[in-house]
Symmetry: C2
Subunit: 569 residues, 2 copies
């Protein structure tokens, strides 16, 4: 334990720290006060798990070089010794540092701060923040389905079963769920895979949806939202080091859960680009290019598809899905189909085709062999029940030994939230014709989906009137992902900024969206958060705000884009 007094210049870098909704910027070159003691020389860790392709790996290793071997104590003003943290940005898990999640990233943090400023009376050129950054239907005013909430209330407080204010079918559903719960309480743990009768209902739903293709409830796993299932599946798939590291093919643009999970797991993200010119469809040739490229430096094992698409709002054709399945079979890829928007199809001529159904229609050569995991959720479609974190995944053709490992793995977290499981049950087992709640249920469901269809059309139409904005039809899901032309001058100005070590602050469309937020109060997510072809720029906006607010939003975007273009021309 050698100790000596030093006045050390700590490494210079700019760091933006986000915490509890506040953004702090630490400038570079901090000169620490005198009074440091070097104590207990301890070797710091080299961030060896960092992706060799990430820009941070280079930046961080430099920092580590300088800090390595310096564990410090300092004397504070009142004479108390203060020591360096055990857990610092340099000693923490480097894979976590690589994680990015734009949907709740810096722009949303800033939006929350602006809302706070507005409440505190700070004057802005607008009076409210309109959030179109996240697929959060209820937050945007969508009403929950009455039947679902009645059953959930009955499950929460079974005394209500004695009240005659609830329809009989709601009571029956609640009784059935409660009977399947330990001690008749949603407060008991369920089986880790999910409540038996809920998994059975899910299986029957899948069979109906897929025209009779059989579904074994033992292959259904209830999850904490779809995210949980997706991360669990990726966790099973990922292994290896160096050139044998697992690669996972994801679409670009993608939903950033995928890139975040792959970064955290230390897997290789293998990008394939959706074809913007053909309404964000999947091209077989692009899949082939991407895979061939990836095989040079990793071991691609899985292919992820989001259909209907997030953030791109397309609905893949049956032919396209067939092509993808044949490709996966030929190239030996595990398929992961994110189908959480399966009810959100708006465009004429478009239809949702589940990967499972198409797989089975291709015959036993495919249906007996291709490994597939499909994901669904209570958060999207007409329900929009994000807060309950309900979801399921179905695994098909999974190796029984691997499936045993999956069952074991999910048992560690005990069980998905039981209210979310109950809700998932109601989604797959909704009121049937002849039941007292059927009419209201259908009315509410249809109204929500029709309104979404209207808003999808409205969004596409208005955006396409703006010079410099090109928007594909919002065929499904809840998002438009328009292409925006940015003037060269704005691109250069964005690139000259260095607000964040993630370099996200420097993306031209981040610059654009941040300016849009500051000037109009509209909160969108820049395309760079989802990935896009080099040199193209986009933003993702949800179609969820109430129609009047959506119109205001679109008018403001229109006005802003024109002003922005002029300003930087």
């Amino acid at each position: 334990m050698s100790a000596s007094r030093i006045g050390q210049m700590l490494p210079s870098r700019s760091v933006s720290v986000l915490n509890g909704g506040n953004v702090w910027f630490f400038g570079g070159g901090t000169q620490y006060p005198a009074g440091y003691l070097v104590s207990g020389v301890r070797s710091m860790l080299i961030p060896s798990q960092l992706s060799p392709f990430s820009p941070q790996s280079i930046a961080l290793s430099g920092v580590s070089e300088r800090r390595r071997g310096l564990a410090q104590e300092k004397m504070t003003e009142n004479g108390v010794f203060s020591r360096d943290k055990v857990l610092t940005i340099d000693t923490m898990n480097p894979t976590v540092k690589n994680v990015e999640y734009a949907v709740r990233g810096p722009i949303v943090q800033r939006a929350m701060q602006i809302e706070k400023e507005l409440r505190e009376g700070v004057k802005k050129p607008f009076t409210e923040v309109i959030k179109a950054n996240i697929g959060d239907a209820h937050a945007m005013g969508q009403q929950p389905i009455t039947f679902f909430r009645q059953v959930l209330a009955l499950c929460s407080y079974p005394e209500l079963l004695n009240e005659n204010m609830f329809p009989e079918d709601a009571k029956n559903r609640a009784r059935r769920i409660l009977q399947a719960c330990g001690g008749g309480s949603v407060g008991a743990y369920s089986a880790s895979q999910g409540i038996d009768c809920v998994r059975q209902d899910v299986a029957r739903y899948i069979e109906r949806r897929d025209g009779g293709v059989p579904c074994d409830p033992d292959n259904v796993y209830l999850t904490t939202g779809a995210s949980d299932g997706i991360v669990t599946m990726l966790k099973l798939l990922v292994c290896g080091e160096g050139a044998s590291r697992t690669g996972v093919m994801i679409s670009i643009p993608q939903y950033p859960l995928y890139s975040a999970a792959l970064a955290e797991l230390g897997a290789v993200q293998v990008n394939y680009y959706l074809n913007e010119e053909k309404c964000w469809s999947m091209d077989l040739s692009e899949l082939e290019r991407s895979l061939a490229e990836a095989r040079k430096h990793c071991n691609p094992k899985a292919l992820c598809i989001i259909n209907p698409g997030n953030p791109t709002g397309q609905v893949q054709s049956r032919q396209c899905i067939e092509d993808v399945i044949r490709f996966a079979a030929k190239e030996r890829l595990f398929l992961m189909a994110d189908e959480v928007y399966q009810d959100n199809v708006y465009a004429e001529g478009c239809q949702f085709h589940s990967f499972k159904k198409v797989l089975f229609e291709l015959g036993p050569e495919y249906s007996d062999n291709v490994e597939l995991a499909s994901f669904h959720s209570t958060s999207k479609c007409y329900m929009g029940e994000c807060g309950f974190r309900g979801g399921y995944m179905e695994v098909i053709n999974m190796d029984p030994e691997v499936q045993a490992q999956l069952s074991k793995l999910v048992s560690v977290r005990l069980c998905p939230p039981v209210p979310g499981q109950a809700l998932m049950d109601l989604v797959v087992n909704s009121p049937q014709p002849g039941e007292p709640s059927h009419t209201t249920f259908m009315k509410e469901r249809t109204a929500t989906l029709s309104l979404l269809a209207e808003k999808a059309k409205l969004t596409e139409q208005i955006l396409n009137t703006v010079p410099g904005i090109t928007c594909n039809p919002v065929q499904g899901a809840m998002y438009s992902f328009p292409n925006i032309s940015l003037p060269e001058k704005s691109i250069n100005e964005a690139k000259s900024l260095s607000l964040s070590p993630q370099a996200l602050g420097q993306a031209p469309d981040m610059f654009y969206c941040m300016k849009l937020l500051e000037e109009t109060g509209i909160c969108l997510v820049p395309g760079s958060g989802f990935g896009q072809k080099d040199g193209t720029y986009h933003f993702r906006m949800t179609i969820l705000p109430p129609t009047d607010k959506l119109k205001i939003l679109l008018a403001k975007v229109q006005e802003f884009h024109q002003k922005f273009t002029q300003q930087y021309s």
Copy 2:
């Protein structure tokens, strides 16, 4: 792509596959039918991420050696080509294979199967399975707190706010929670860190609990049960390879979430033994021994404590906690305090002391420096609301840059379940004197805790009357972890069995518990699932069954133990 017909002898091993409640045993030496084609030679992955200390790493690498390079297609009877899986036990993530979770392990799977057999009319020497394997209070008949469920029903179906069947304080709590939700709906995502007002309520609760020690709501993170928070914290801490791999100190016996999470993250599990002779207390000398030993082959960074203890039911003294904090400060360890049983203290003279309170009482040298994360949950105490997956963690003295990474990391999963957050709020903001629900709430709370105290005493007393069983006082939590003497003959018989590749089936106390289950219908978890000193054997049983069933259970254990001892003497 070279292809040739082979009749390959696949590796011989016994595998137990658990799936959907069924246990299948595959015997060794399967001779696959002819008709194999070796197609597409693809290099399989060496399980390099396996712990070099695990027995599987040796066993599996042998299997991989034999299978490597063999990607096979076989011709099925109807002439269709069938291919090897992409994802197999050999190509999957090896860290997942190392995960074990005894609380829901083979013995519980078997219990579920026996229950099914009983329903199907299979004759057994008992008529029901009594489960004392998991801290699942409601499943064992504990009633939920009325007030909590009223508020949850109101939050689920706000129409009920118009009914006069609910007390005003329940309505007020529901209104307050709903106002803090996006669109006034628990179906909206919350902030990833948790609903603001809930975090504020948690902070005030912690301040009250700890006699005024300040708590910043920005340091409170709501979680999906305590497990989620614990895994998240471990994820931040773990990194490095080889001798610089992160080590995490955990008690033995431990709650197997810790060992499972560490296995999955590829960290080194550093065992310190609780002192069974001194009622499972923590010994400073043992901590020192454990740490010194660990430093020879890894980089120990964190120390986990469960207090009150799971599975051991002890309540650590204030002095002990002080010693642990001083030790952590001196040795530069991040403290993780699992305090989910903070209300479950039964023994006279015992009291719950939070690590945070003791930390602050030790003065600024500690309170300004020692990094601590503390975990709580809605699942235990008097609530027992496991199914809602509610919880929080508070982080203290965390490096702001790391905390920003934590905030980013939790945002990827969007948010903890909102009903669980609402429930956590009610726990930390329960009815106050003068409010209409206060009397009933206090009555229910006291009744539950008193009953648990009675059952804790009953369990200890009866078990200690059995020759060969020694049981420490159940001072707190929900478990007893008695020491059982097993005859040499039974130990040898257990060891001669090889039912499972996890070697868990061979542990003598697993053999004992499995026999107990088959003969009496009582489901306990063997001590080997939690860890114990070599040559000692235990089981964990919860004190949760209703008193009459608990008495039956204890009488059956008594009888079984005597019979077992005779049989193998």
